[in-house]
């Protein structure tokens, strides 16, 4: 790699990199920092549970944050980013991408830089509600950190959606055209299916936890509202949560499957057995993962027939997983196995994953689930799969690719100690968990009946072994980096007689075969880096508003009054990076985003200090939150101003691809699920609403006819948008500008009317959110559906304004007007959603 070592010394490079390999490395660093802290929390748990007494924490309330953060961080901020990091690091090379990078290199940077802030929010939250955050507990618990936890996860969800769209486009459209689907490495397939799962499932959890945020802060009645009679639909949360979280567990394991295939076939010197079966298994797992979510809910009292359906689907999904294990085993047959450290991890994975799968079978059988649900059996099951499974695959892969990352070999002996300590620790702890569960020990317990003590102590011993092994992991890698053996022969790595065997890079192949010279530049983009920081501003804004009681009803209690040191230190590090980047950018256009980076980081630090230390910020605490949105809008204005001035020649992508609408279609897939779920939630709420909380006839409380007129206005805007696209396709630039202008006007009228309607409704008090509103459940559904839709219209108008301004400068022509079509498709989608929403919310 050309720039090893330089990355960590250059803040400008770290913040602005658009190079997938560099971004991949940054993902690894972030993941391992998070894993170290989450691992420490695990050790705290195990230390506390050494005996039934209070060994470290004062009580259950104190203890709640340990398992919540251990789980949340490991799932969202360690395993998923490790998958994304490995994907970034390997996939552009595995698919011989035409631009030698991810499809959208700048969005790649944006997606990454949202994660450190998301991590910060989650760590600051110290939320005590379990990573599953079931309602009504998560609504009624006063800890303000829960709002932070929610905001952090929404940020990480947006980050992984952007990243997933990027992977899908890279693999589907960005690869070398001569590489067919069935030529792709299995890691590519794994990441591809994983990315589709994330795109389609993330909206569900975002909606679920945003609804919790609204119940906590805006007096809505989605799950629990004392003034609406208490619980409204607590189980609905579980459906929404698990509709995402079940595919999420496959998201955590499928990239690992791909890596195991790489490691086993390399170290056994054999091609993977049954490639087609492996691909088929990935696809089957992907599809089935959406059909099994309620197997987490067998004890909630759901209809027995529903349980049969989900049990059957869950049995079905066991089959492709089992097939993969047999395929891996058979790959060993006839091989010439070398037992290098990566292979040790891969081999161990086979057995650990089988144990995990077997323990999973038990809990799928409803009668057995009665005894095992919410006990340590389940904890054993998922730790076998994720810790003894996925995480092992990542260990193995990082060791294997260490020469590629650093040009050196890791230290062999310490890596073997890491492996043995880790594996023995895994077996000790997770077997103890399984036995504890079999004996009926429930989860998330701070104290326990004495008879469980022996097994708890066994689990604790194993946990400390795992913790110790981590140290050997870092020692092995860093010793290798600083003092290790340099790689001599990249075609005979680890004595395997082969190298990494990436397909020939696209540029090389074009040069050899066609004599064409494809020039690819990995340019820095501080705009992208600042986008990651600036996109966190609305979240800091929400935090500031929630924390200072701006919303109708805040569950704001118990805010600590001391200054939170760790978060401020963390933000100070980021501030130093931005200052460093700014200093290097003075005199270039890059200085502006660097300045925004500094401003947003400073604002964030002020919020943290202000909200958490209860220090009134110049006496205007309630409005500081709004300031964030202003800065955010300023950034957007500055960005568009710069972008529209740049002279953009055709990019590498443009040269080889025509008709890029698939990019927006992939994004719209996520949006379709998002609105589909919102509509579904509205229907479910109506069906389950207690008498008096839902209006019998909407025309009594809503202005149906005027809104119908507003709907017509929006339809007109779709018409003018279509005319605009038609115009530019014929090369008519003047008409393009004209019709874009009309579309903006119609869209603005629509939004203006909606704002007017909201103010009216709040005034009338029937469809409203203040205490004493007549129809709390109906109002909650109304505002979340029309509100999210309205936000989408607003974003659409902002995008339209940008396209309009560019069009006025003559930036589009007959051949190149992709962004006009993108905005057009987005706009039509938003309009179509409105037609459906209007019908369901106002008419039916």
């Amino acid at each position: 790699m050309d720039h090893e070592g330089m990355l960590w010394k250059s803040p400008r490079r770290m913040l602005g990199s658009t190079d997938a390999q560099e971004i991949g490395l940054m993902y690894f660093v972030l993941s391992f920092i998070n894993a170290s802290f989450a691992g420490l929390y695990a050790l705290l748990i195990r230390f506390e549970l050494w005996t039934p007494e209070a060994n470290y924490f004062d009580g259950g309330a104190d203890y709640g944050a340990t398992f919540t953060l251990h789980g949340t961080v490991m799932v969202f901020l360690v395993i998923v980013p490790l998958g994304a990091g490995m994907g970034n690091y390997l996939i552009p090379r595995l698919v011989a991408a035409t631009n030698a990078d991810m499809y959208w290199p700048k969005w790649n940077n944006v997606a990454f830089w949202m994660l450190p802030i998301a991590s910060l929010f989650v760590w600051m939250s110290q939320a005590p509600i379990g990573w599953t955050a079931y309602t009504p507990l998560s609504v009624s618990t006063g800890e303000p950190g829960i709002d932070l936890w929610i905001l952090g996860l929404v940020m990480s969800g947006i980050s992984s959606t952007i990243g997933s769209i990027n992977f899908v486009l890279t693999i589907w459209k960005g690869r070398d055209p001569t590489i067919g689907w069935m030529d792709l490495d299995l890691f590519v397939w794994g990441t591809f299916i994983t990315s589709i799962l994330l795109i389609l499932s993330t909206p569900s959890i975002v909606i679920a936890i945003v609804m919790v945020f609204f119940d906590r802060n805006l007096n809505t009645a989605f799950f629990y509202n004392p003034s609406a009679g208490g619980p409204t639909a607590p189980i609905m949360y579980q459906h929404l949560f698990w509709f995402f979280s079940h595919p999420e567990v496959y998201v955590m394991v499928m990239p690992a499957f791909g890596l195991i295939s790489i490691l086993i076939s390399k170290y056994a010197r054999r091609k993977i057995f049954g490639y087609q079966g492996m691909v088929g298994a990935f696809i089957a797992i992907g599809v089935l993962s959406f059909l099994v979510w309620a197997h987490h809910m067998y004890a909630t009292g759901i209809n027995p027939l529903v349980r049969v359906a989900f049990t059957t689907m869950t049995f079905a999904i066991a089959i492709p997983s089992g097939i993969k294990v047999f395929n891996w085993l058979t790959t060993l047959y006839g091989g010439k196995i070398k037992f290098g450290t990566p292979m040790l991890f891969a081999l161990s994975f086979l057995v650990m994953f089988t144990l995990g799968g077997i323990t999973g079978m038990y809990v799928n059988i409803v009668p057995l689930d009665i005894t095992l649900h919410d006990t340590y059996w389940v904890v054993g099951h998922f730790h076998f799969i994720v810790a003894a499974g996925s995480l092992q695959a990542f260990f193995g892969a990082i060791y294997y690719y260490w020469p590629d990352m650093t040009g050196k070999y890791y230290h062999d002996l310490t890596s073997k100690i890491h492996f043995w300590l880790w594996s023995l620790g895994n077996l000790t702890t997770f077997t103890a968990f399984t036995l504890l569960g079999m004996n009926g020990m429930p989860r998330r317990y701070f104290t326990y009946p004495d008879k469980f003590q022996g097994l708890h102590q066994m689990a604790t011993v194993g946990a400390f072994m795992m913790g110790l092994s981590f140290i050997f992991f870092f020692v092995s890698l860093f010793w290798g980096y600083f003092k290790g053996e340099e790689v001599e022969d990249y075609d005979n790595l680890f004595g395997l007689g082969s190298g990494y065997n990436f397909p020939p890079p696209f540029a090389e192949r074009m040069e050899e075969e066609n004599g064409e010279s494809v020039h690819v530049e990995h340019s820095l983009s501080l705009w992208a880096g600042s986008a990651g920081s600036v996109l966190s501003l609305p979240f800091f804004g929400f935090l500031a508003l929630a924390g200072t009681g701006f919303f109708y009803r805040g569950y704001v209690k118990n805010i600590p009054s001391d200054l939170p040191i760790f978060p401020l230190v963390f933000m100070a590090v980021i501030l130093i990076l931005w200052i460093g980047a700014f200093v290097k950018s003075i005199g270039e256009s890059d200085a502006v985003p660097a300045l925004f980076g500094i401003i947003s980081t400073l604002l964030a630090m002020l919020t943290i200090a202000g909200v958490f230390a209860r220090r009134s910020l110049l006496g205007y605490s309630n409005y500081i939150g709004l300031a964030f949105f202003v800065v955010f809008l300023l950034w957007i204005a500055a960005f568009f101003n710069t972008e529209s001035k740049e002279d953009k020649g055709p990019s590498v992508i443009d040269q080889y691809k025509q008709g890029r609408n698939w990019e927006i279609w992939t994004f719209l897939a996520s949006e379709t699920i998002f609105f589909g779920i919102l509509i579904g939630v509205g229907l479910a709420m109506r069906a389950n609403a207690a008498p008096g909380t839902w209006v019998a006839d909407q025309s009594e409380v809503l202005a149906v006819l005027p809104t119908a007129g507003n709907t017509f206005v929006l339809i007109c805007s779709s018409f003018t948008m279509a005319k605009a696209v038609e115009a530019i396709k014929k090369g008519n630039k003047d008409d393009l500008v004209k019709y874009l202008g009309y579309t903006i006007i119609f869209g603005s009228i629509f939004i203006g009317f909606q704002i007017f309607e909201y103010i009216n409704l709040a005034h009338e008090g029937e469809v409203a959110l203040q205490a004493g509103a007549t129809y709390p459940v109906f109002s909650s559904a109304f505002y979340i559906q029309t509100g999210f839709h309205g936000t989408h219209v607003l974003v659409g108008i902002i995008l339209l304004i940008f396209v309009f301004l560019r069009a006025r400068q003559g930036g589009y022509d007959e051949e190149h007007h992709e962004y006009v079509e993108f905005v057009g498709l987005y706009w039509h989608f938003v309009d179509l959603v409105w037609i459906i929403l209007f019908t369901i919310v106002y008419l039916l």
Binding site: I319, L329, P367, I370, P442, P449
Partner: protein, 235 residues
């Protein structure tokens, strides 16, 4: 076409018989235990197979081993293997379904044949906002929790005594702003106690003894401290 239809019917009829409730023995916990044992046998067999092959291949095909023949698996064999183990996996799944579905419906009636229930005694079980259990007996008495200090931690025990071979219907009730779950492993009972819903459970305890009650849905600060004993005595 005809063969496909009759094969489908052949499989459908047993499947339907499986999922519809059947009347069989009276004590569910022995069925549960049998199912657990059977699944353990199947799992152990699978695990053994995997581990044996794993060890065997690692040993036989280690790179030091010069003598072994390292042949490619011919295409026809590999096809047979893949189809074979997929078919075996499906068969195992079908067997597990056949064995477990008949008792699947009985979660709300923790015995296999609800018609065995004659004159169940109805008790309302409340999960409270102060992390305790309470029983509301039909005669109006309320069984309150007793606080026991265990190792510097307060645990709330609510104890109830049931009669052997007598049917009971527990109706669950919760006014707390969080979900509890009523879990008595010894009686094979677990049911979420959800605010706003009244889940219920009917069962007949058939063995004398003391059974521990634990809360099995995270409910906040004192989740691990809301417990009790469900004692079963002779009539």
């Amino acid at each position: 076409m005809q063969r496909k239809v009759s094969l489908f019917a052949f499989l459908l009829i047993p499947f339907l018989t499986m999922v519809l409730p059947t009347s069989a023995e009276s004590d569910l916990s022995s069925s549960y235990n049998q199912l657990f044992m059977l699944l353990s046998l199947v799992s152990f067999a699978v695990l053994l197979l995997v581990v044996v092959l794993w060890v065997y291949f690692m040993y036989k095909f280690r790179e030091d081993n010069e003598e072994v023949e390292r042949e490619e698996i011919p295409h026809s064999t590999s096809r047979k293997l893949e189809v074979g183990w997929t078919a075996v996996a499906i068969l195992i799944i079908i067997i597990l379904m056949a064995l477990s579905y008949p008792i699947l419906f009985n979660e709300t009636t923790a015995a296999e044949d609800p018609s065995n229930f004659q004159n169940p005694i109805t008790i309302v079980v409340e999960g409270t906002a102060s992390w305790t259990w309470k029983y509301h007996l039909p005669n109006g008495t309320v069984i309150e929790p007793v606080v026991v200090q265990k190792d510097a931690v307060d645990v709330h025990f609510t104890n109830i005594t049931l009669t052997k071979d007598q049917a009971y219907t527990f109706i669950f009730f919760n006014t707390a702003p969080f979900i509890h779950s009523y879990f008595v492993k010894g009686l094979n009972i677990k049911m979420d106690v959800v605010p706003g819903t009244n889940n219920s459970l009917t069962f007949i305890p058939t063995k004398v003894g003391a059974n521990e009650l634990l809360c099995a849905e995270f409910c906040g600060a004192l989740h691990s401290q809301m417990r009790g004993w469900v004692n079963v005595e002779e009539a």
